[in-house]
């Protein structure tokens, strides 16, 4: 779409959404938020940008492709399950450590995995549908 207003708005909204999504992801464990919502937010930012400009230039700005995002997300979520296994507890049992007063645990990693997967899934679908030139690969 060739609208100057949309272009400027997209340039501002994309980083804003991504930033918000990170905040939502971070606070998700204690307040409303989490990986799923965060992922949706971040993906929305990119999708808005994609609608305002085009698929090619959006993908160019991403240093990681949507397909790879899905793969990394799944891998992280899956790998977080092994933390439990190494302590002789069942797969996906949460393990927690405290670093400088911030609680970090395998569920945190899991949530980040969900976050990345959701972004990857939405962007993959969007790219597949939106790209009219069919030149993505």
């Amino acid at each position: 779409m060739n609208s100057q207003i949309l272009h400027i708005a997209a340039r501002i909204i994309k980083p804003l959404f991504v930033l918000t999504s990170l905040v939502v992801l971070y606070r998700g464990h204690n307040m409303p938020g989490g990986g799923f919502i965060g992922g949706l937010l971040a993906a929305s930012g990119y999708i808005f940008y994609m609608l305002a400009y085009d698929v090619k230039s959006t993908l160019k700005k991403m240093w990681i492709k949507p397909f790879e995002l899905m793969a990394w997300g799944l891998l992280m979520a899956f790998a977080s399950g092994f933390a439990g296994l190494f302590h002789a507890t069942p797969f996906l049992t949460g393990r927690w450590i405290s670093v400088f007063g911030i609680k970090l645990g395998s569920p945190t990693l899991f949530d980040v995995g969900v976050y990345l997967t959701v972004i990857g899934v939405l962007l993959t679908i969007m790219v597949a549908i939106l790209d009219k030139e069919k030149k993505w690969d």
């Binding site: 464990h29 799923f36 929305s44 399950g81 949530d111």
Partner: protein, 772 residues
């Protein structure tokens, strides 16, 4: 140090192997071989430390609620197999370091091989039948990758697929057998199952378990009539064949039979089944090895024969036969590992594996020749090699069968005569006589290619001459484990003049006769085979698979005709039918329901939502329909927000927004909106929609009244912060309490994304074709 550490480390390193190979392309084989070598000594140490009788058992939960644990069970039998796998694995890795150096993708080769080795180690060390099954399947998968390593060749791919299909089918049968064993004994733990002989043998499931166990073991161990995948599997690189035939894969079937022999064995069904299949396989394998000309094919058929012998010995089920089986297992692993590696070296240095083209290699390849001759003598069962002891023990076991089945003895002798003859032919045609007509001028192989075979061949001699340590620390505990009593045996090379020695002499005599008259006999046998053996198991199996694919294609085309409305209808009708049935039959049905005061703004939103959904049904514009569905979604989100479910509300809003955007984008690809449906079909759709919507309403109403598990929300409420370290209960449920569900969901999402991606791609390919 825990028992499973070596296995975990090898699994881990298998994924790093490509990096190691990239960094040290020349020394990767040497470096990686350190791991199995260290594991070898570690397990030997653990076993000796534990003493000869006792069992080392370690366990931790995997899915404890289902009785599925990571248990590790080290006794004499596991130890024997572990030692074979790690020792031969070490030598194979060193060998591969040179052998594979010319190939592309050799980094991946190390990964597959290490993974294969770790799977096999896990299989024999598993103390839980389910984990055993998992490792069992991992060996199938990794051997698929190894056999199909030269994936650009059609024969490799089909051989890999064939072996995978056969062994996985057997694996499925084994799993069913394991589940039945659990039904009877109430446990998956091997240590527990092994104590329940009476329960298993008097159970009505005994025969079913037996058949399923046989199906698993026979497919894996290439017993007739499933033997055909093994000769085809030589399409893989030579180190793989050497590993597959000697210590891994095909020995897994023998292992599971021996492992469960104390509880499943001893019955007439067990003995009859194993004896019939064993003796047939033993004979068929030995017979067909005679008429082959490809070195690797000869060896593959002799492996089949050896596996048949092992199954037969397990089936005879006496102390003597198990002793013979354990010794013969070691004998076979040593000579077969050695010979397959040597066949690979010969192939590498002469460019051919055809008996008719080879000859006189003893002059050009002296080390290879010596190692091969020792291994072949062991295969033929000649003194002073361990093969001789193995054969003597087999004859002894067969002579001593209660109720002497002379037929078994006769078949055994005939098979051994063939073995002597083929060993002689192999040795003579390859290493002596006129120099052959080979594509490459033969040259002695470097250290790495002859070291492995030479070590294994030397062991054949050393173990026969100095058997004391081996007999008391490895063989006796293994026999004790299979017989479930403490047994100490002594291995002797010289058994004195007796019937068994006479039989050996007869065997060698006839074998030599067959060797001398080979030029008359073997062409004659080939003629018989070409006339009589028209039936090819391999080809029939392919036909079977093709037929199966044909039927499934028909079935899929029928059920999934490609009309999306039909799919939706099926889903709606089936779901409503089941849920309605369950709703009507559940306990009580209280229609009167106290709604309580409804705020006016909620009422307003609900009215708006109803109006929007009516509009969506009645409108003839796609955009209007989509936007009004969006209104419904937003309405739900606002109601969520009113009642405090902020998480759900935000998610709902995001999803609604994205769905509307998606729909608008998809419309672009759709044909013009037209009314195709007749009045009758609209009424039908309407009825289905009402039934479906009605059940959702009823479900919601009833769900509020039913309180089947009152503790679950309280549990989450109380433990969210304590166990899950979070105050947002929804999030803690998603990422911790029910994380497995979430994993499933994100996998489904990914699959959906990949589906959309490939659907759009499909279109492109079509348009490209049109351009052409």
């Amino acid at each position: 140090m825990e028992l499973y550490y070596p296995i975990a480390i090898i699994f881990l390193v298998s994924f790093l192997a490509p990096l190691i190979e990239k960094r040290f392309p020349a020394g990767a084989g040497w470096i990686l071989s350190i791991l199995p070598a260290m594991s070898f000594f570690y397990y030997l140490y653990r076993a000796i430390e534990a003493g000869t009788e006792s069992v080392v058992l370690e366990s931790f939960g995997w899915m404890p609620a289902l009785g599925i644990n990571f248990s590790f069970y080290l006794d004499g039998l596991s130890l024997l197999f572990l030692l074979l796998v790690t020792a031969i694995g070490t030598l194979i890795l060193i060998y591969s370091g040179y052998y594979m150096s010319g190939y592309a993708l050799k980094d991946r080769f190390y990964m597959y091989l290490m993974f294969f080795m770790a799977s096999m180690m896990g299989l024999v060390l598993s103390g839980n039948l389910i984990t055993l099954f998992v490792f069992w399947e991992l060996t199938s998968v990794s051997s698929f990758l190894l056999i199909g390593f030269f994936h650009e060749k059609e024969t490799s791919r089909s051989a890999a697929l064939q072996s995978l299909l056969i062994t996985v089918m057997g694996g499925l049968a084994l799993l069913a057998g394991i589940v039945l064993i659990h039904q009877v004994t109430g446990s998956f733990e091997i240590a527990e199952v092994l104590t329940q002989r009476e329960a298993l043998q008097s159970s009505p499931f005994y025969f079913a378990i037996l058949l399923l166990l046989f199906a698993g073991a026979f497919t894996k161990s290439a017993q007739f009539p499933f033997h055909f995948w093994l000769p085809n599997a030589m399409a893989g690189p030579s180190p793989v064949s050497a590993f597959l035939h000697s210590a891994t894969m095909v020995k897994a079937g023998i292992y599971i039979l021996m492992r469960l022999a104390p509880v499943m064995g001893g019955t007439i069904e067990w003995k009859t089944g194993l004896t019939i299949f064993g003796v047939t396989t033993m004979f068929v394998g030995a017979y067909f090895s005679l008429t082959q000309t490809d070195l690797k094919k000869i060896l593959a058929y002799t492996t089949i024969s050896a596996l048949g012998t092992l199954v037969l010995l397990v089936g005879i089920d006496t102390k003597e036969s198990i002793t013979a089986a354990i010794i013969f297992l070691v004998v076979h692993s040593l000579y077969k590992g050695s010979l397959f590696m040597l066949a690979g070296s010969i192939d590498k240095k002469t460019g051919t594996r055809d008996l008719n083209k080879l000859g006189g290699l003893s002059k050009t390849m002296p080390f290879t020749t010596i190692a091969a001759l020792v291994a072949l003598f062991s295969m033929a069962g000649l003194p002073p090699f361990i093969g001789f002891i193995g054969k003597e023990l087999i004859y002894e076991a067969k002579v001593a069968i209660p109720g002497t089945a002379n037929f078994l003895l006769f078949m055994g002798i005939v098979s051994n005569i063939f073995m002597v003859a083929i060993s002689g032919i192999f040795a003579w045609r390859v290493f002596f006589g006129k120099p052959g007509n080979t594509p490459i001028q033969p040259k002695e192989t470097p250290l790495r290619l002859w070291l492995g075979p030479a070590v294994l061949a030397a062991l054949s001699l050393v173990l026969a001459l100095f058997p004391a340590f081996f007999a008391s620390n490895v063989v006796s505990p293994a026999i004790s484990a299979v017989r479930a009593t403490d047994i100490q045996i002594k291995i002797k090379l010289w058994h004195g003049f007796n019937l068994v020695l006479l039989l050996s002499l007869v065997t060698v005599m006839f074998g030599v006769l067959l060797f001398v008259f080979r030029d008359r006999v073997i062409p004659f046998l080939r003629k018989i085979n070409s006339r009589m053996v028209k039936f090819s198991f391999s080809a029939e199996f392919s036909k079977l698979i093709e037929g199966f694919l044909f039927i499934t294609k028909k079935k899929t085309n029928f059920i999934q005709g490609g009309i999306q409305r039909f799919y939706l209808m099926v889903i709606f009708i089936v779901t409503s039918a089941f849920v309605w049935y369950q709703l009507i039959n559940t306990q009580f049905w209280n229609i009167s329901y106290d709604f309580g005061p409804i705020p006016y703004y909620v009422l307003g939103i609900v009215v708006l939502m109803i109006a929007a959904s009516l509009l969506a049904v009645l409108t003839s514009s796609r955009i209007t329909a989509i936007v009004s569905m969006g209104v419904v979604g937003w309405g739900i989100a606002i109601i969520f927000a009113f009642y405090g479910a902020v998480d759900l509300a935000i998610t709902q809003i995001m999803v609604e927004m994205l769905v509307v955007v998606l729909f608008v984008m998809v419309i672009y690809h759709l044909p013009v909106f037209k009314n195709f449906s007749s009045k009758a079909s609209r009424i039908r759709d309407g009825i289905i929609a009402l039934i479906f919507g009605g059940f959702m309403t009823a479900l919601t109403l009833k769900g509020d009244q039913l309180d089947l598990y009152p503790n679950i929300s309280e549990y989450y409420n109380e433990n969210s912060l304590v166990l899950g370290q979070g105050r947002n209960i929804v999030n803690v449920i998603l990422v911790d309490f029910r994380a497995l569900d979430t994993i499933g969901e994100i996998f489904v999402l990914t699959i959906a994304a990949v589906g959309v991606f490939s659907l759009m791609r499909l279109k492109i390919n079509k348009s490209k074709k049109q351009v052409k």
